[in-house]
Structure formats: structure tokens, C-alpha cells
């Protein structure tokens, strides 16, 4: 059984159909890239998986670890091991990054029936992960993402992912706004977490990120559907030829 199974998914936002029968299966241990032009439905898919209000399906189903995710609230999905790295991470004035990380980690552990981490255990864990992502102590003391640069915000997303150790991580255009050094740090952060138990869905517009996070499967999303699936070479092909031919495709 696939870790994530999406069948015939239809989603409407404000009366407009964005996803029009999307099928996708992601197995544990795999990295899938979803590429596609602007407006093809990539971010809609990401928000829908995470459970954002207003992103409800009109048809189809999504099974995560065999369970229907539409029966679960966003926090329940997170505790079950689903993680979304936001394209635009939010700033939360007044909430220190450490408090945020600790509240999130302990809430998930509690829901899974695991004990809360002690303060020293937690701090040790955060420092270890933060160090690898070039996130300094000062950033951790500041309010979540407040005054962070674009690159710092994205690294903070990866820090959260590394701490929360999800089963499935969806990265929504994590490469956008990153220079090459930051891109490498982020990619290394993802690669360190690759394991046979864990899967990734990397949503991106450009092939560049996939030089560093090498996918097992590449999908082309256009007009609300997966229109082509291939190996990592498909990304190179798209980079060379553009999305043109997929956008021109006349829907059946």
C-alpha cells in the first residue's frame, strides 16, 4: 500500500475547479517531484493535503497511511506524520521560535501517546538540527520568522521538518527566493532525512532544486491533473522544452 494515495481528486476554490481528477501514489522511501506551470494547481494540492480551510474536495479521496485525511483536522494530520513546508512561511509576532518548536513537537508527541521531551533533551535536539542548517541561536530566540530573510524562513521550515520527523513531507516551492548557497543547505537538510520509511513530495516550478534533491519520480501537473509521469530525466526535459506542450494539450 502506498503511503499517500490520491484518487480522482477534484477541488473547487471559490466556485472554480482547480484540481480536476488528480491521481497520485507515493510509496514510503520515494521522492516525487511535481512540476508544472503557474496556476496548474500545485499549491492547491499542498494546502489541501495540510488541511487549510476552504480547500475541500468536491470528489475523490486522499488516503494517508490508509486513512482518509478528510476526517482529520490539520493538527491531527501533522501528528499522523504529514508535513507541509510552506511556500510563504508566516510571521508570528510575539511567539519565540523555540516556544513554537517545542509546543509543536510536544503536541504531536502527546497525540501519538509519546512522552513530552524534557527541556535539556529538546534544546540538545534543536541545536543539533539548527547547526546543520546554519540557523544560529539568535534566530531561535526571535519571534517565528519575524524579521527573517526569505532564505532564513525557508531554512526555518526545514528545521521544523527535521525536528518533527514526518512520514511524508510536502515541500511547496521551497526553492523559490533562494540563492544557490541557501538552496544547497535546504537540499542537504532534505537529503539527510531521506529514509526507506519516509517520502517526499517536492513541488517546484524549476528543475534546479532537483539537481540537489534527486527525485525517484517526476510528475507534470497541468490544468489540475497529472498529465505525464517519468523518471528524473523528465525534469531535465521540462527545463529544456518548457511546459508549453502540456499547457496546449486539449483536455479530453
Amino acid at each position: 500500500m502506498a503511503l499517500l494515495e490520491i484518487k480522482n481528486l477534484h477541488v473547487e476554490i471559490d466556485g472554480r475547479e482547480i484540481l480536476k481528477g488528480l491521481d497520485l501514489a507515493v510509496n514510503a522511501g520515494e521522492v516525487h517531484a511535481i512540476m508544472g506551470p503557474n496556476g496548474s494547481g500545485k499549491s492547491t494540492l499542498a494546502y489541501l493535503l495540510a488541511g487549510k480551510q476552504g480547500y475541500e474536495p468536491t470528489a475523490g479521496e486522499v488516503l494517508f497511511n490508509g486513512k482518509n485525511i478528510f476526517d482529520m483536522s490539520p493538527d491531527e494530520r501533522a501528528a499522523a506524520g504529514l508535513f507541509l513546508a510552506f511556500q510563504y512561511p508566516l510571521e508570528i509576532p510575539g511567539v519565540a521560535t523555540m516556544t513554537f518548536l517545542r509546543t509543536a513537537l510536544n503536541a504531536q508527541r502527546k497525540k501519538r501517546g509519546e512522552g513530552e521531551l524534557s527541556t535539556p533533551e529538546f534544546i540538545k535536539k534543536v541545536r543539533e538540527v539548527a547547526g546543520k542548517l546554519n540557523i544560529d541561536q539568535d534566530m531561535l530566540r526571535r519571534a517565528v520568522n519575524v524579521g527573517f530573510s526569505g532564505g532564513e524562513k525557508k531554512r526555518n521550515e526545514i528545521l521544523q521538518m527535521a525536528l518533527l520527523e514526518p512520514r511524508l513531507a510536502v515541500l511547496d516551492e521551497t526553492d523559490s527566493g533562494l540563492d544557490i548557497d541557501a538552496l544547497k543547505i535546504v537540499a542537504e537538510g532534505v537529503n539527510r532525512l531521506r529514509s526507506p520509511q519516509r517520502a517526499f513530495v517536492v513541488i517546484t516550478h524549476y528543475q534546479r532544486l532537483l539537481d540537489y534533491i534527486v527525485p525517484d519520480v517526476v510528475h507534470v501537473l497541468s490544468r489540475g491533473r497529472i498529465v505525464k509521469t517519468g523518471g528524473k530525466d523528465l525534469a531535465l526535459e521540462l527545463e529544456a522544452r518548457g511546459y508549453h506542450e502540456y499547457q496546449e494539450e486539449v483536455p479530453a
Binding site: S73, P74, A78, I92
Partner: protein, 443 residues
């Protein structure tokens, strides 16, 4: 046709008039104080209880909200004093010197009077009035606005309060805690405290008000504060009255040159609360931080009315007031910054924000600037709105359940005001109160 309009006396107004005529001969003070009481009472007799057509009381119609006036409190009995021993828990483990008032009367045996630091003198207003203390005669009514009806009633009926002197240059390490506790029986208390802080002195004053939840007692508490040049004074008021109480309190301050002055009001208790501040920056180059946090629910009504009067040049004031309103609660903020003609180079910024947790809660924000000088930097802002759904989703997407996500955002919202309190222990104690309020809300 001309109709003679006469103020119809409400039951509460009549009761207050009766209370004054019965009590005036036994209230403490000599003939001069007696005349001051009478003049103040005449202000009330002329104006009546303030109502919605009085601009300063537009959102807090005391004439409508005060259905009756409770009898003046009798001196506390042994049982009332015994109950007061458990009061003041909301400060957590903050070390203070307590001055305890039960039903408005100073209770020396519950207060920490031993080992007073050099330069500190504390006592009771009733004693000072009875003994004809010249300091009281010199300061009473000099700072508080005589035309304000709440102040006028306080002056007319004041029974007791604290009289605190901090000598020039003295540093009082241990915060002074004026702890006002209402006893079980519904009564009215009128307390007046005078605080005179000498030049260059340092002191922190905490004023807290609490009482039993089931009693519809009435509190009118006023503090007149004089801050000397270069002094550093923090005033923190915690309004944690019982759920049925009516609380009207006033802080009137005059601040000398180059002083540092911080005032904070934390409002969470009481059925009807009117918290008023009249602050006069009378000397040059004072730095002032005036902040507040309000957390109310149910049918609670809390009004913060502030007048920051910049008289001298070069003073800086920051006003930050945040309120969280749940249920059908009604929060009011009226803030007026006045910059007098001579107050060039004034730098004053006021911000008020209300967070509405329910569709039925109501926030009225009225910030005002009155500027008579031409070289100043002044600004104000006001917002009112619900919790940010995007932020809530972000927190939930990390595994934080809805109630906990909301609590985190509310704590952060109020934290921005509370972090202005310099005393770390007190900041923590107030954040604990916020957490407890949120916990009660979630359960």
C-alpha cells in the same frame, strides 16, 4: 416653550447623597479637609452620575450601569481579615512589601510594616487625616482632576488609603504592594492613596484589587502620585475584582523632569470596570511607558480612559493597550494625548488593539490627539479584529491543536504589552494569569 430640565435623581444618586450626609461628620480630617469633601460632593450633586451624553463617559454610562449605591463599608471584622490572608495570590512568588486594605480600611496586622528601607515611609490615610499630616494637606487633590465625577465622589467619601513617601535619592528594592480586598458583604469603598516620590528615587508600586465572585460590591479607588525629577517609578495595577463587582479607579500622576515613569494596568475581573489615568508630564525629557492588557468575557465591561498631558518639552511617551474580548464582553479604550503649547519636541505614540474572540464581543477604541505645539512627533493607531486564521492554520499544520494555537496567539498578542513591565517576576505572574484565563476558556 421652555421646559425646565432637572436631573432626575436615580436610586444610586440618592443613596450616595444620603451616604455623604450621614457620613460626613465621622469621615476623617479637619475642617479644611471637610470643606474639600463638601466642594467635591457639590461637583457630584451638580453633575450626577456620569452618563453616555458626557463625552468622557460615552461608552460607560455609570448612571445606567450603577443600579444602586451600596452602603459605605463598615470596618472589617475578624472573619473578613482572616479571609484577606489568602489574598494576593495572583502575584505568584513576587517578593513585595504588602499594605493590605480590607473593605477599604488599612489593616496593619496583615501588612509588612517591619524593617522599612531607609527613605521609605508608609502609613494610612485615615491616620494621616486624623493627625493632620501636612503632607496630605499639601498633596491631596493637587493631581487628580477635581471636575471628574468619579474623583469628586472619591474625595467626598474617602475613608482610608495609603500614604507613601519615598525620600530624595532613596532606592526601594522591594516593590510596594497595595492590596485591596473586598469582604463578603456587598459594600462601597472609597480609598484614596497619596504617593510622593522624591527626586532621583526609585520605587515600584503594585496596586491590586480583588474580592469574592458572588458579591456586587463597589470600589472607587484613587491614587495621586507625584514623581520627582529624575525619579524612576513603576506603577502596576491589577484589577481582578469578583465577577459581580463595580470598579472605578483613577491614577493621577504628575511627573517631574528627566524621570522615568511606567504604568501598566492588567484588567481581568469585575462586572463593570472603569480604569482612568490622568498623567501630567510636567518636567522636561521624561520617558514614559503607559501600557495595559485587558482580558474579559461573558458580560464584562471594561473601560480604560487615559489622558496623557504633555506640558513640558522633550518628553517621550509610549501608550500600548491591548484587549482580548470573548463572549459578549465590551471593551472600551479612550486615549487622549494632549501636547501643550510649550511641549515642543514631544514624542508620543499611542496604539490600541482589540482582539475579538466572539462575534458578540464589542470593542470601542477612541484615540485622540490634541496638539498645540508645532515641533512634535505624535501618532496613534487602533485596530480591532478576530484571530488571524492564516496564523492559526500555520500552527495547526505543525501539530498544535486549535485551542492551543489560539492560546499561543492570544498570549503573544498580550505579551507585546506585558513585556513592557520591567519586573521579570511580575511579567511571569501576569502571563500565568493569562494562561489560566485561557485554560478556563478552553475547558
Amino acid at each position: 416653550m421652555n421646559a425646565e430640565v432637572s436631573t432626575i435623581k436615580t436610586a444610586a444618586e440618592t443613596a450616595l447623597a444620603n451616604a455623604f450626609s450621614h457620613a460626613r461628620t465621622r469621615l476623617p480630617g479637619d475642617g479644611v479637609i471637610g470643606a474639600q469633601r463638601k466642594a467635591a460632593f457639590d461637583v457630584f450633586a451638580k453633575e450626577g452620575l456620569p452618563h453616555r451624553r458626557v463625552e468622557e463617559w460615552k461608552y460607560t454610562d455609570l448612571r445606567a450601569l450603577m443600579r444602586d449605591a451600596k452602603p459605605l463599608a463598615s470596618p472589617p471584622d475578624a472573619a473578613a481579615k482572616a479571609r484577606a490572608k489568602t489574598a494576593g495570590k495572583l502575584l505568584g512568588d513576587v517578593e513585595t512589601r504588602r499594605l493590605v486594605f480590607v473593605d477599604g480600611a488599612f489593616v496593619p496586622e496583615l501588612s509588612d510594616l517591619a524593617g522599612q528601607e531607609a527613605g521609605l515611609s508608609v502609613g494610612s490615610l485615615a491616620d494621616a487625616l486624623a493627625g493632620g499630616d501636612p503632607m496630605v494637606a499639601a498633596h491631596l487633590g493637587k493631581v487628580a482632576p477635581a471636575g471628574d465625577v468619579a474623583v469628586a465622589l472619591n474625595t467626598a467619601l474617602m475613608g482610608d488609603g495609603a500614604v507613601i513617601r519615598v525620600a530624595v535619592g532613596a532606592t526601594i528594592e522591594r516593590p510596594l504592594h497595595l492590596l485591596f480586598v473586598a469582604a463578603e458583604k456587598p459594600a462601597a469603598t472609597f480609598t484614596r492613596s497619596l504617593v510622593v516620590v522624591g527626586a532621583g528615587a526609585r520605587v515600584m508600586l503594585i496596586e491590586s484589587h480583588e474580592g469574592p465572585p458572588g458579591s456586587d460590591y463597589q470600589v472607587n479607588a484613587a491614587v495621586e502620585l507625584s514623581v520627582g525629577e529624575r525619579a524612576h517609578v513603576d506603577h502596576v495595577k491589577i484589577i481582578a475584582e469578583g465577577a459581580s463587582a463595580l470598579h472605578v479607579s483613577t491614577l493621577a500622576a504628575v511627573v517631574g523632569a528627566k524621570a522615568r515613569f511606567n504604568a501598566f494596568t492588567f484588567t481581568m475581573g469585575g462586572a463593570v470596570v472603569r480604569n482612568q489615568m490622568f498623567l501630567n508630564f510636567d518636567g522636561e525629557e521624561t520617558l514614559a511607558g503607559i501600557r495595559g492588557a485587558t482580558l474579559i468575557k461573558g458580560h464584562q465591561h471594561a473601560d480604560t480612559t487615559l489622558v496623557a498631558n504633555h506640558i513640558a518639552r522633550g518628553c517621550q511617551s509610549r501608550e500600548v493597550f491591548k484587549s482580548v474580548l470573548d463572549g459578549e464582553a465590551h471593551g472600551v479604550f479612550q486615549g487622549r494625548i494632549i501636547v501643550r503649547h510649550g511641549a515642543q519636541k514631544t514624542d508620543a505614540k499611542m496604539m490600541t488593539q482589540a482582539l475579538l474572540l466572539s462575534d458578540r464581543a464589542e470593542a470601542d477604541n477612541k484615540p485622540e490627539l490634541e496638539i498645540f505645539a508645532d515641533d512634535v512627533q505624535c501618532g496613534h493607531g487602533a485596530t480591532a479584529g478576530a484571530l488571524d486564521d492564516e496564523l492559526k492554520f500555520y500552527l495547526m499544520a505543525r501539530g498544535i491543536p486549535a485551542a492551543e494555537a489560539e492560546a499561543l496567539l492570544i498570549q503573544a498578542f498580550l505579551g507585546e504589552a506585558i513585556e513592557g513591565i520591567e519586573h521579570a517576576g511580575l511579567r511571569e505572574a501576569l502571563m500565568d494569569q493569562v494562561a489560566a484565563w485561557l485554560k478556563a476558556r478552553a475547558s
